[in-house]
Structure formats: C-alpha cells, structure tokens
C-alpha cells in the first residue's frame, strides 16, 4: 500500500497556515491596543509634566520625577490655599520648598 504522504503533509501545512493568520490578527490587535494605551498614559504624563513649575523650564522630568513632583506640587498648592499666599514659611534653614524657590526665580 502506498500512503499518499505528500497530500497529507500538504493538508497539515495548509491547516496550520489557515490557523496562523487569525492568531496573528489577535496578537496584532492586542499589540495595537496596548500601544494606544501606552500612548495615552505617556501623553497624560506629558500634560502633567507641563503643569509642574520647574527651573530651568526646559528640563524634561522623568516619569517617576513627574509623579513625585506632582505630589509635592499638590501639597504646595494646598498649603498655600490653607495658610494664605504670603505666609510661605520655611520649615527649617535647610528645608526650602522647591516651588516657592522656582516662583521666586521666575518673578
């Protein structure tokens, strides 16, 4: 008996070829979605970065820096609102609010 292995192989190969594109499609769809998600996070970082007053103004903050400085900036703004704008006291001789300093530099 002769086995027609040639056509069997072809059948197997074409099945694999038929399955692969849908998996590729799924992967590329997920990749595109992840790319969009990352892009939206990065542009949110950019907007936040632009709102933080810093000296010199063109220094690009890293992601972790923007997070830390945004936290401090919110504290700074809250402090000014609760204690009044003129009473920006320094806690100690060495402890200066970086945003008060930036404000003084820019004004």
């Amino acid at each position: 008996m002769e086995f027609d292995n040639g056509s069997n192989d072809f059948q197997i190969q074409s099945n694999q070829l038929n399955e692969a594109p849908s998996k590729k499609r799924i992967r590329s769809g997920a990749n595109a979605r992840e790319r969009d998600r990352t892009q939206s996070v990065n542009s949110a970082f950019d907007v936040l970065r632009a709102m933080i007053p810093i000296d010199p103004p063109d220094r690009k903050l890293s992601k972790i820096e923007t997070l830390q400085l945004a936290t401090k900036y919110i504290s700074h703004l809250s402090q000014i609102l609760t204690s009044g704008e003129d009473s920006e006291q320094e806690h100690s001789f060495y402890d200066v609010c970086i945003f008060c300093l930036t404000n003084k530099i820019n004004s």
Partner: protein
C-alpha cells in the same frame, strides 16, 4: 561616618546604618583598587593618608551601575598605605540616586566591585544568567518605586472612587491634572471661583475656558461645582 578603622588583618564588620551592609575594600595583587560602595554614598576619611578603612562585603549584590567581578570571600582586608590615593567616592548618575536598590544575597557568593575608571563602566558577570537576573531585579525595583510614587500621588488626590477601589494609573494621572488645574484656578480667581461656575453663563467669560479631562466618575464630585465642564467627545485632557 568616616572614622578610620583599626589596622591589621582583622576583618571589621562594620555595618552601614541604612542597609545593614558592610563593604569591603581590597587591594589585590593586580594593583587596582577594588571598592564596594553602596548607594548611600559613604565617604572615606580622606584625611587619613594611610586610609585603612576595613570592612567586609557579605552576601550582597552590589547596586547597579558599578562594575563588579565575582570574587572568592575575603578573610582579611586592607587598603591603602602611604602613597596610595584614597579610594574615590563614586559619582552617581541620577537614576542611581533615585532608586535605593534592594540589597539581596545571591547564594553565598560574595560580589566585589572593580574600579577601572569611573567613566568606562565594564560589567563582568559570571554568566549571562546573572546579568539578566540583575537586570530583572533592577527593573522590578524601578517598577516598584514607580508604583509607590503613584500611590503617594493617589493619596493627595480627592477620594473619587468607592472605598474598595483605587484609581488606575491613567485615572490618577488625569485626576491629578484636573485637580492641579482646579487648585490653580482657585488661587488665581479666589474662593468665589466655585460659586462663579454656578452662576449665569455671562460670568464665565472671565474664567479660563473649561476643558473636559476625560475622567468620568459618579462619585466624589463634591469638590467640583455641579455645573461641570461640558463633555468633549475626543476625550482630551
């Protein structure tokens, strides 16, 4: 903490306050100074010309950015001597300052650091596996620090989710943007800013154009006026 340690062949297990790590400074026959320094930047006592700071490195993975070389454990250690320059304090890049890397032991091996030049940092690892492992550790530490920073930011933002939930990263970023704008507007326009939003549209011409930040929440809008920003289809900030 720059007191010189006693000379001699004894091993001085002096521990660093922060990370409970002791360092080893070792002068091998190759005549390069091997120094292990952690990121809490200990300063050697450069005044003592016979700089004999002795300490041991024990089961410690050195922080990133420093070259190091696998070395058998040391029993006695001494550096310097007259005429030998004191070991330098490493200048650190910004990243190394930001992250205090976790100090973890890898088996029972002792890792030493070799200083060739501060400008050319050559890493010599025992294997590719060790390199990838330390790269993974670094990345994991980096991500952990970033998540901590996100948490700190979330704590400063107004509570705007049901008690069990917390803001996602993108949500907390957008909320931070919105909140900072809100605080700045209050500072600029005075506490009447909030009431102005309630009043007739003619008053809003003195206010900055409202923007919709793409953050939708049915909770915790109490810090913002009820007459809220008009929705924007494009979900801009």
């Amino acid at each position: 903490m720059s007191e010189p340690s006693p000379r001699g062949n004894e091993v001085d297990t002096r521990s660093v306050i922060q990370e409970n790590v002791t360092r080893t400074v070792y002068k091998p026959h190759v005549d390069t100074v091997i120094s292990a320094i952690n990121t809490s930047s200990m300063h050697y006592d450069q005044n003592s010309s016979d700089s004999t700071t002795i300490c041991t490195l024990n089961n410690v993975l050195p922080p990133m950015g420093y070259e190091y070389q696998h070395h058998p454990p040391l029993t006695s250690v001494q550096i310097g001597g007259p005429g030998v320059p004191p070991p330098p304090v490493y200048g650190m890049s910004r990243d190394e300052h930001q992250y205090s890397p976790t100090v973890a032991g890898i088996g029972s091996n002792c890792y030493m650091q070799t200083e060739v030049k501060s400008s050319s940092r050559v890493r010599s690892y025992e294997s590719e596996r060790d390199y990838k492992k330390s790269a993974c550790d670094r990345e994991r530490t980096r991500m952990r620090d970033m998540n901590k920073a996100f948490d700190l930011l979330r704590n400063r933002l107004p509570k705007s989710k049901p008690p069990g939930k917390k803001l996602s990263k993108i949500e907390s970023l957008r909320m931070a943007i919105r909140y900072i704008r809100h605080l700045q507007a209050i500072l600029e326009y005075g506490p009447e800013y909030e009431t102005k939003l309630y009043t007739a549209p003619s008053c809003t011409q003195y206010l900055p154009p409202p923007t919709y930040y793409g953050y939708q929440s049915q909770y915790g809008q109490c810090w913002n006026a009820a007459g809220d920003y008009p929705p924007n289809v494009n979900n801009q900030y």
